[in-house]
């Protein structure tokens, strides 16, 4: 048997969580006051966890690297959050959300965790509304919903294109209440640089104060990592500039297994790269696919004419356009899951149908939506339905209320008006399904160390459905971790405060200090970004949207070389005893350079295609699904959890077999 114990409770899937909650050990309120918990990260996952744990009575210390918890990258989520409320009466239910998530994840997630997520999802919406989160409403004053890719119901709640912002501000407000009461001590502009284990248990962290440069020791009875995803290993992604793998990687080095590092989501609707100066990519929410139609020209010569500026997209006749998603996937059309939509865009562009200067862009067109809405409005208002200009005007107004801020964002970046000419989009790295391995309790393989939100691996399998990350973050933080961590902490009521003068803290602090000193004194010739960009190129070209054995083997070698050169030749200016962004960045890139190699190694081992992981060697050769990704359930229905053994190449894989008792494994078909 594998050494991984997922600790899934017994019983029928629908009763597992309730039975579990009825049986766990509780900590009485007076004793909670004797227990300290560290929460690293204040995004949706960490913010909601910190607030809830403090409310329950624990003493919480929370950390983030930004200048305020309100700025965690969850703030950038645009489209929405799923919940099985069935307010639309369209047949939604806990089971359907569970099913959609497992199927969307291409049957590579753990059933019990996903079911629990679906089960608590409805509570999230109730909770957020009670906190004053201003979700979109219809004219009757009730909550409005939209649809996201990969599903046939309308279960996504939203707040214009700023859902993540509003949810995070909700969690932030809950934190503020506890900060005001003194139950959370907030450490802004602090970066966690190591986990401290005492007697095999996680008992604290080492953090650097990013303003003063001080290295600090913080102890607690349990440590929660809510530090987000690692998409920035690609250099260019839709993640914030500071998003990093450091916290997770340091935990990995201290014994936390890293699961499925190669599962990455490449989002189909991002603004294309404009040049070498590019520092990050901007997402255009998936919600746009509710109304936008994706196409490229049918003929290569038209694509060529558009690329060279000889023709405008609006001049191309309807019959000369290839709405390739509608053509290939009639059932789901423009709303196929992200991995499918991304690969289809790449396929068209690689075949020479791309539409911008670089040949790496497709159109997302709102002209038909504007017509449709315009006619509807004219009808409702009793106006002339044949007045073309009026229809366009009315239609644009509707599109504006739905997506106004996204259109504005697009126009500011690209300098084109998307109401008049179709948007250009291209896939970009967006989300990492892989992450720290956790059991049903969300505990890692290090006792007392938990991982929640995007930082863990558990709920989305090989591909995440839109609007499900926000749901998972808040589910973990508000409704799951507060129970599971209590069960663990019940053994610590007599432990007393954890001292920070032990040899373990000493050793961890020294490791951190040594690395910082190394960077400051290295006096190399190349900047941190130089190495980060090179790593990103290898990742994108060889470990990106489509992968093969040769490319992956090369990537492993190349990443190792870049890493060696980095340590020899990186230049970090300034000093260690003050604000120094380059120093912080150097530490993050050092960890990306190790993760990147493990990532490629994981992708190489998994020679099947599943979800966001597409191996060119593994495609359907004939039949209706010809050319589509081919899973290999017989050999790969497992989670690959990697144990650190020094160099990434020495990492050892442990397999958690995935058992499907409630959902039948099937080929994902969106045809």
């Amino acid at each position: 048997m594998s050494i991984l114990d997922s600790k899934i409770p017994n019983g029928p899937i629908a009763d597992k969580w309730t039975n579990y909650k009825n049986k766990i050990n509780l900590v009485n309120p007076a004793n909670k006051r004797l227990i300290d918990v560290i929460v690293v990260g204040t995004g949706l996952a960490g913010g909601s966890a910190a607030a809830t744990l403090a409310e329950l009575g624990y003493n919480v210390k929370a950390f983030c690297f930004q200048d305020s918890p309100r700025r965690a990258h969850s703030i950038a989520a645009q489209g929405g959050i799923n919940a099985a409320k069935n307010y639309q009466g369209d047949g939604d239910s806990t089971h359907r959300l569970f099913y959609d998530t497992v199927k969307g994840g291409d049957y590579r997630s753990r059933e019990a965790n996903v079911y629990r997520l679906a089960e608590v999802s409805a509570n999230i919406i109730d909770q957020c509304v009670a906190q004053g989160v201003p979700f979109a409403r219809d004219y009757g004053g009730l909550l409005d919903n939209r649809s996201f890719g990969g599903v046939l119901v309308s279960r996504t709640f939203y707040a214009k294109g700023q859902t993540g912002q509003q949810l995070l501000l909700g969690a932030y407000s809950a934190m503020n209440r506890q900060i005001g009461r003194g139950k959370i001590k907030m450490y802004n502009r602090h970066e966690m640089l190591d986990v401290v284990k005492v007697g095999g248990k996680a008992r604290g962290i080492i953090a650097r104060n990013l303003v003063t440069g001080e290295i600090e020791r913080h102890s607690a009875h349990a440590v929660v990592l809510a530090t987000g995803g690692y998409g920035n290993v690609f250099f260019l992604s839709t993640n914030a500039m500071g998003s990093n793998v450091t916290a997770a990687w340091k935990a990995h080095k201290r014994g936390a297994f890293f699961a499925n590092p190669c599962y990455t989501q490449i989002h189909p609707t991002c603004i294309p790269v404009s040049g070498d100066h590019q520092s990050k990519l901007t997402l255009m929410s998936e919600s746009l696919r509710n109304d936008g139609r994706i196409w490229v020209p049918k003929k290569q010569e038209d694509a060529e004419a558009i690329r060279t500026g000889k023709m405008k997209p609006t001049q191309l006749a309807e019959e000369d356009r290839d709405y390739y998603l509608e053509r290939r996937y009639p059932a789901f059309g423009n709303l196929v899951p992200r991995d499918v939509a991304s690969r289809a865009a790449k396929e068209r562009c690689d075949a020479g149908f791309g539409v911008n200067k670089t040949g790496e862009a497709v159109y997302l067109d709102f002209a038909s939506a504007i017509q449709r809405y315009g006619k509807e409005q004219a009808h409702v208002k009793g106006l002339d339905e044949n007045d073309k200009n009026l229809i366009i005007e009315l239609g644009r107004d509707v599109v504006k209320t739905k997506y106004g801020n996204l259109f504005q964002m697009y126009e500011k970046i690209v300098d084109e008006n998307p109401y008049e000419t179709p948007m250009m989009i291209y896939p970009a790295v967006h989300y990492t399904m892989g992450g720290i391995w956790v059991d049903y309790n969300l505990m890692t393989t290090v006792e007392g160390l938990y991982a929640i939100g995007e930082a863990n691996f558990s709920d989305h399998g090989a591909n995440r459905l839109g609007a499900s990350a926000l749901m998972q973050g808040l589910a973990d933080g508000y409704f799951v971790l507060p129970y599971t961590i209590g069960d663990y902490l019940s053994q610590d009521i007599r432990t007393g405060a954890i001292p920070t003068d032990s040899p373990e803290f000493e050793e961890a602090e020294k490791t951190v200090r040594d690395q910082i000193e190394f960077f400051i004194n290295n006096n190399g010739t190349k900047t941190v970004d130089h190495f980060h960009k090179r790593l990103g190129k290898v990742m994108w070209n060889k470990v990106g949207m489509s992968r093969n054995e040769k490319g992956l083997s090369e990537a492993i070698k190349e990443i190792k070389e870049i890493r060696e050169e980095f340590w020899k030749d990186v230049r970090v200016p300034g000093t260690a005893d003050g604000f120094n962004s380059e120093l912080a960045k150097a530490g993050r890139v050092a960890d990306f350079l190790e993760l990147g190699e493990l990532f490629a190694k994981d992708a190489l081992e998994r020679s099947e295609s599943c979800g966001g992981h597409f191996r060119e060697e593994s495609v359907e050769l004939d039949g209706e699904q010809k050319g589509e990704a081919k899973r290999d359930d017989e050999n790969f229905t497992y989670v690959a959890a990697w144990e650190y053994k020094g160099e990434p190449s020495d990492a050892v894989v442990h397999k958690e077999k995935l058992v499907y008792e409630n959902i039948e494994l099937k080929q994902r078909s969106y045809k």
């Binding site: 700025r71 707040a159 209440r177 802004n188 500071g242 520092s279 500011k412």
Partner: protein
């Protein structure tokens, strides 16, 4: 484009600080303002100098981390954008650009262009929340319908990103636009009513303690606010404040 940058350099909070001139060339109109600073910083590091410190994270106008006072305007010359969304096509070849931090007594400089805005957080600790526990035992989300118009107005107020441009722009360094946005969001929702009085009194009290100035209705904040937060919020907060003070 070739440009001349005049940038505020200050080692730390104690240092006096000064403007330093940097020529820069090869800037493309499609670059964002911060990407232009990235180019400068790469050059500085390669030369062995210290790069210019500035705050940023999301680079898409939503986290509120970036700041910068550019040619005398918070977030620069464009409207309804943050500095990270400002593009170089808004500038002309040969232009001189002045880049300073957001200045206010309540926003001390940390280094170069980075300021400390924790005063904003402390105002929120004083009352920027609805006291509801996160137990999951709240009532169904649709049990209280909210008029669409009010819900939308609450959303518009809630869109504030806490960047501090309103303060940096105001000749009195007043934080009224920021505070009123939060007060308004809750005042417009039935969920916020219960604590409305204490909330506005406590938040305004903290705002005064932090050393923000008074509002004299110049309206400069509304013009520079990247999220279009409206002055109506200040009027609403004033009404809430008077109502609350009278009933105390």
């Amino acid at each position: 484009m070739n440009l001349t940058l005049k940038i505020w350099r200050q080692k730390n909070a104690k240092d006096k600080g000064k403007m330093v001139e940097y020529p820069i060339s090869g800037i493309d109109g499609d670059m964002s303002f911060l990407e232009m600073l990235d180019v400068l910083n790469e050059e500085l590091i390669e030369k062995g100098d210290e790069p210019v410190a500035f705050d940023h994270d999301c680079r898409e106008g939503i986290c509120g981390m970036c700041s910068l006072y550019i040619n005398g305007e918070a977030h620069g010359p464009d409207r309804l954008v943050t500095t990270c969304q400002l593009h170089m096509r808004k500038f002309k070849d040969g232009e001189t650009i002045y880049i300073e931090p957001f200045r206010a007594n309540a926003f001390p400089v940390v280094k170069d262009l980075v300021v400390d805005r924790s005063s904003f957080d402390r105002i929120q600790h004083a009352g920027g929340y609805i006291s509801v526990n996160t137990s999951g035992n709240t009532q169904d989300a649709n049990s209280i319908p909210i008029e669409k118009e009010k819900a939308d107005a609450a959303f518009n107020a809630a869109a504030c990103i806490g960047c501090g441009a309103c303060v940096a722009t105001c000749k009195n360094s007043s934080a009224m636009l920021f505070v009123s946005a939060k007060v308004s969001q809750y005042a417009l929702l039935p969920q916020g009513e219960v604590e409305a009085k204490d909330r506005v009194l406590n938040m305004v009290h903290q705002m005064d303690l932090e050393g923000f100035g008074n509002c004299t209705n110049t309206g400069a904040c509304e013009v520079e606010c990247p999220k279009g937060i409206s002055l109506e919020n200040i009027a609403r907060m004033n009404r809430e404040y008077i109502k609350a003070s009278m009933s105390k």
